[in-house]
Symmetry: C2
Subunit: 198 residues, 2 copies
């Protein structure tokens, strides 16, 4: 969509420029398709700006999204835009040397690393893919996430995907899109297919 | 999301394999963010499969989405996946040599080329970005689009984005997602920002 005019001018003492450069927390939730896909689409824009991008896949099996991963790795290595670091819970986080006992522990380890990276301003865009689930399940404390996002330094944008985004996260986010399913091929018996689902 | 079981087994005489390779018509509509972004995310998967991808941007000004365009052009030129052809109405379609008199005429010219490419099986994935608008406005006949999609040869997937997707298109589509706005920074006076909106 083309650029729009804001619907209100806020009384927050910030200039348009300051407001424009505010770090954003973005949530893609809902039961429809496109939550992660749109997050990786956002990563293309960040890459084009020359930003370092950090992807954290909070899924047990990370076989999925191989297309996005390969594309973003090729882009990151091209030298024409920003860098891309891709971290997968499904293969055991690369920075964790011991065996993780459960998905819950793995999710918590992922979040601990995100906190460290936010404090160090490692990336300019964070894609926390499927991170709504560990919050929804109570594995990672939503209030702690909201606090860490609120207090993060610099201009680091964070995109969180997954069904059932906790209300406190939605409240704290700047941009929230609910992807609703209108129709899906699985409803009529079609399985996922190459190039479309992965 | 990980792969799921279909909700029903259809009585269509097709094998799972035939059904799996069926060409899909995908629609991203609704007033929320992520319609185009998710379509370009799908293009990453298609690229990863080695498929030729054709993007047609049905917008008057194509300044927007420069990040996606550059990323997909770099990927297409990398030789590591499929090719990418990027066509912009905003700059005048490259195959049209004369001046187009109106946006309506330009949209129709774009659709005529899509029809030719579908008949020639030029691409394996078509991203018809913002194409819901010319249909909604009556510039391009929705019934004609539905017919051309129904009769297209081979296995060519088509993604159409834009608000107000016509009901006949939604009926004909295989996969439809409605992106609903829950919250947007413009609501609180923030303008779009670099790396996020473009």
């Amino acid at each position: 969509m083309p650029q729009g005019q804001p619907n209100a001018v806020p009384d927050d003492g910030l200039t348009t420029r300051q407001r424009r450069n505010r770090p954003l927390t973005i949530v893609h939730t809902g039961i429809g398709k496109g939550k992660s896909t749109a997050a990786f689409g956002l990563a293309l824009r960040a890459w084009n700006q020359g930003w370092p991008v950090g992807v954290f896949q909070f899924v047990k099996s990370a076989k999925w999204k191989v297309g996005e991963e390969r594309a973003l790795r090729v882009l990151g290595a091209s030298g024409e835009g920003g860098t891309v670091a891709w971290h997968k819970m499904g293969e055991g986080w690369s920075w964790v040397q011991r065996d993780l006992e459960s998905s819950e522990e793995a999710a918590r380890e992922g979040w601990e690393q995100v906190k460290r990276d936010l404090a160090a301003e490692t990336y300019r865009l964070y894609v926390l893919d499927e991170f709504a689930y560990p919050m929804h399940w109570g594995w990672v404390d939503t209030a702690e996430v909201v606090g860490a996002l609120r207090d993060r330094p610099g201009t680091q944008h964070v995109v969180i995907t997954g069904r059932n985004a906790p209300p406190a996260l939605v409240d704290a986010a700047d941009l929230v899109t609910d992807m609703s399913k209108v129709k899906h091929p699985m409803d009529v018996g079609q399985k996922g297919q190459r190039g479309i689902e992965w």
